[in-house]
């Protein structure tokens, strides 16, 4: 299934249409973002409504770090952005992880909005207009350009490789001792404590990792569009990614990828003038109705339709 899906994506450029290459690149970046959130929501059971903050801040960072009319070095900027994302996630995590359940949702949302207003109301990043990243970072080894991020096709395969990398990294982590402990904490925190697991360091570890991967997605997204504005930090964006998760199916990783595709394609469909005429302007109405219906009718997401192909999910329910 997964190999088939990966092959389908890899073959998209054969259509030759730059529009589709760029659309799918965008979706794959969102898929990385959604997978990072799935680590929190699906694996640890921490529903964060402030995850876009890490995505957005990373986007701003690459814009800040790049010289105005020159390419920044990919090898310098990416680690810097990821490290700052990790530090930020650690700082926010130390605060928000003192809470749990519904408190956690509200507090993550509030911290996300704090960063949103920081960029929106101050001159820091061009205020509500945002700032441009005129030249994309340069990825070169020993002085020669390996991948040219300015070229849509090369960018596409670059993002594709990173998406697969993130997927396998997370898969690996989920079967590690750390991943098993996270799964245990999600199902039954009390039991995990009585077995001697202190929840906080595990949750903080997951929160930081998720923040770093969201930062990676934000970096790539800023590279693709060459532009960042405060909207990519807003809680609506966090909620949109949560929607992708539930659409695809939380806790499965590939559900996050599936959800990113399903969401963007649904959005394209609902906003398509050709299909819906003047109604297309109000695509959010259709999106809202779809979300309500999916929550009510398909709460385990599209991935649950494929569940019988694979092994049952780890720790879906307690005994």
């Amino acid at each position: 299934m997964l190999v088939l899906g990966a092959m389908c994506i890899a073959l998209v450029p054969l259509t030759g249409a730059t529009f589709y290459i760029q659309l799918v690149s965008k979706i794959m970046i969102l898929a990385i973002f959604a997978m990072s959130l799935d680590l929190l929501v699906g694996c640890v059971g921490l529903v964060s409504l402030g995850h876009a903050a890490f995505f957005g801040v990373a986007g701003y960072l690459i814009a800040f770090l790049s010289p105005k009319y020159q390419a920044a070095s990919f090898w310098l900027t990416l680690p810097a952005v990821l490290m700052i994302s990790a530090a930020l996630a650690c700082l926010i995590g130390l605060l928000v992880l003192r809470t749990s359940g519904i408190y956690f949702i509200m507090v993550t949302l509030a911290f996300g909005q704090m960063l949103y207003y920081l960029f929106h109301d101050t001159k820091l990043g061009g205020g509500s207009d945002g700032i441009y990243l005129y030249v994309k970072p340069e990825l070169s080894i020993a002085g020669s350009k390996v991948v040219d991020l300015e070229k849509p096709l090369q960018f596409f395969y670059f993002v594709f490789a990173i998406m697969l990398g993130v997927y396998f990294l997370l898969r690996r982590i989920l079967v590690s001792p750390f991943g098993h402990a996270l799964a245990g904490l999600r199902v039954n925190e009390q039991r995990m404590r009585s077995l001697g697991f202190p929840p906080f360091p595990y949750k903080l570890g997951a929160f930081v990792l998720a923040g770093v991967l969201a930062g990676l997605a934000g970096y790539l997204s800023a590279c693709q569009f060459g532009f960042v504005n405060p909207e990519i930090l807003s809680w609506h964006y966090s909620a949109t990614v949560l929607m992708m998760l539930i659409l695809g199916g939380a806790g499965r990783l590939y559900g996050a990828i599936l959800g990113a595709f399903a969401y963007v394609l649904l959005q394209e469909l609902l906003a398509s003038q050709a299909l819906l005429g003047s109604l297309a302007k109000h695509w959010q109405l259709g999106m809202g109705v779809s979300v309500v219906l999916i929550v009510l009718l398909l709460p385990s997401g599209l991935a649950s339709l494929f569940d019988h192909f694979g092994r049952p999910r780890l720790a879906q329910s307690g005994g």
Partner: protein, 285 residues
């Protein structure tokens, strides 16, 4: 004197936040549901005030009409949507109510467009009280504060002194027990939900002449409400009152003193409270 006026504005804003936050915290405290669409009801209230005031030309007639409409919307949404999610993850509740936000926003855009509209202050409350030779304070803002205080007082009496209030308090701590007493908890939930969102709409309605009506007004105030509830302690009406006044004053004074960072100030206050008391100022056991 300038400071005094800003303080009055801060208190008025805080009391308004209290109306919203108390509805949110009631719905959460009693039903365990996080309703992101709470801010949308604020918006619905404000736009209904705008529309009904133009239709009827009379705010005093518009108020009861509108409260009835929102209450019925609340009953319908609870029974058709929210009631199905009580036993589900918070994730599902969050997303369902986010879906509703999108729907409400888009309906607003379809019916009222995306422009900012002013709502006239009722004729009888239009004048101002002179404070000094140059400064005066509008009566309508005092009216907002007084109304909010009256609602808060009424809520306190109902929750502390009446049988319904007792049921509500018992229901928030022990659902099974209430059920075993022969009280229909489903009905209690339905009415509490409808009442909570009506409070939000009421807040939107009386705020409309001061704030105007504009797209996204619901989301903006929702986040501030979350901050209020987090600081006050989830489920605590008393906490909502204290925190709402704190936030109202900090935000209003912040806009005057440090306009660039006023958006951030309330969140810093929240962070400080979280460090000190992760469960909020007034934790409900």
């Amino acid at each position: 004197m300038e400071f005094f006026i800003q303080l009055l504005n801060g208190i008025q804003y805080g009391l308004l936040l209290f109306l919203l936050a108390s509805g949110l915290t009631l719905i959460f405290g009693i039903m365990g549901v996080l309703n992101l669409a709470h801010g949308s009801f604020y918006m619905v209230g404000a736009y209904l005030a705008y529309w009904l005031a133009r239709q009827t030309g009379n705010m005093w007639l518009a108020i009861p009409l509108e409260l009835a409409i929102v209450f019925i919307i609340g009953l319908i949404l609870e029974s058709t949507l929210y009631a199905r999610l009580y036993h589900r993850d918070h994730l599902h509740q969050v997303l369902l109510s986010f879906g509703l936000i999108l729907i409400f926003e888009e309906l607003r855009s379809i019916f009222f467009g995306d422009d900012v509209h002013g709502v006239p202050v009722p004729e009888s409350l239009k004048h101002s009280i002179p404070l000094t030779s140059t400064l005066s304070y509008p009566v309508y803002r005092l009216f907002i504060s007084a109304t909010c205080l009256a609602v808060a007082g009424a809520m306190y009496l109902v929750i502390q002194k009446t049988k319904i209030g007792m049921t509500i308090r018992a229901g928030s701590t022990n659902r099974e027990m209430v059920q075993s007493l022969g009280i229909n908890i489903k009905l209690v939930y339905r009415w509490v939900f409808a009442f909570g969102v009506t409070l939000a709409a009421f807040a939107g309605m009386i705020a409309a002449p001061v704030s105007s009506v504009y797209p996204g007004m619901g989301s903006q105030i929702l986040i501030i409400c979350f901050v209020v509830v987090v600081i006050g302690g989830i489920g605590s009406i008393k906490g909502a009152m204290v925190a709402a006044l704190m936030i109202g004053i900090v935000d209003t004074l912040g806009q005057v003193l440090l306009p660039e960072f006023s958006g951030v100030a309330v969140y810093l206050l929240m962070a400080a409270v979280l460090l000190w008391r992760p469960q909020g100022l007034f934790k409900v056991a």
